[in-house]
Amino acid sequence: MGLRLIILLVLSVALMVWNYRHSVLAQQWRGNLSLVTTPIMSIANAPFALFDQIANRLRTQSSLLNENTTLRAQVLLLGGQLQKLQAIQTENRALRVLLQSSAVTHHLRLMLAQVMAIQASPYAQEIILNKGSHDSVFVGQAVLDAHGIMGQVVEAAPYTSRVLLLTDSRSGIPIRDERTGLRGILLGQGNSGLLRWVNMPITSDVRAGDILVSSGLGGDYPVGYPVGVVASVNPHTTDQFLGIEVVPRAQMNSSEQVLLVWPDKKTSS
């Protein structure tokens, strides 16, 4: 019994070290193990999915009609905004040609994924999606909701994937201030649900209400998507840096459906 314990201890430590180094092989191994855990996740999720389905079936005609009218109005509004955007995009391209600058245009492919109703993580801010490497989800992929960037995929099993939210303390995202063009990095703060803009000198021009968009530096997140709004700027800290708190735009806790993004970079000149 003692010998068996020692063997298992050595095995666990070896596994942990191997897993900590994020090797590709270790990730594949995790994927294989998820063949055991995915059914458990599905069973835990099943009652909630069933409840949703029943609730959908039991809706009255009038509420459906109401929803339909609001959705139609929304489509019209968004379509109108899109027309303007397309005009601006063509104009932008033409201007870039005039300036002879090489522009990176991003053709993005999007896919809807459902957030599973499980909390499969004790401390970390993570969500589980019902799409996995079978639908070509990959580790490092960006995840959006209707309002902004939510986080990135950290583990892609065949039929599920694990998303690390921006608010987790292990998460960081490169951003740009839309008003001034200042670049920086936002770090998650864990349970508070806020982000922190770090290492900004006390003289830098940041105001509450500034909209921050992803800068695309580092290549993990797509360029130009809204990330958050500056909530408070506190210059009275003891060190040489501003204490900047940022509220994320994405609704981390209440989103039921999210968008997975595939970057498709084509450099045109």
Binding site: M1, R4, L5, L8, L9, L11, S12, V13, A14, L15, M16, N19, Y20, A26, W29, R30, L33, S34, V36, T37, I40, M41, I43, A44, F48, A117, I118, Q119, A120, S121, P122, Y123, A124, E126, V154, E155, R162, S169, R170, N191, N253
Partner: protein, 162 residues
């Protein structure tokens, strides 16, 4: 006889899977840190009551599955489960003789050790977790031990596990 043995294994595996499901069921925001360590309680119960059937290896494997489920470092929970079940196995005769409240105290000590090890591993990875997380699970798990014990004992009697 083999049929009875098979149904016994089924019962054990079903309790383990139910515990795993309880580990990932969504809880309201304020209650997350008080989630009891269901799987650990169930594994410890089987180790104490059926030590010749459920040993360190099964405990280790349940821990590994929990790691995979929760996205923690593979081996983190597994190593804790192995150490705790080793201790439980070593003293299972003594623990079985105790009344339920005293058993809960023993479980409290084991859970403290478990949280210490887990937080140590989290710290090694550079993740620091608040003190509320440390004690929340310990308190609820200790309080729930008697209940888990009674439920699993009734299950034991129904399936005539030896």
């Amino acid at each position: 006889m083999t049929n009875l043995r098979f149904s016994g294994w089924c019962a054990i595996i079903i309790t383990l899977i139910s515990a795993l499901i309880l580990m990932i069921l969504p809880l309201p925001h304020w209650a997350v840190s008080y989630r009891p360590a269901w799987l650990l309680l169930v594994v410890l119960y089987w180790v104490i009551v059926l030590p010749h059937r459920v040993g360190i290896s099964i405990a280790w494997m349940s821990g590994l599955i929990l790691d995979s489920l929760q996205g923690t470092l593979l081996g983190e929970n597994a190593i804790c489960f192995a150490i705790l079940s080793y201790l439980a196995l070593k003293f299972h005769r003594h623990i079985r003789l105790l009344s339920l409240p005293f058993q809960s105290l023993v479980i409290l000590v084991l859970l403290l050790l478990n949280q210490l090890l887990l937080f140590w591993f989290q710290g090694l990875q550079g993740q620091f977790v608040s003190i509320q997380w440390f004690f929340g699970a310990i308190i609820t798990s200790t309080l729930l031990w008697s209940w888990v014990f009674m439920v699993l004992t009734s299950c034991l009697k129904r399936y005539k596990l030896h």
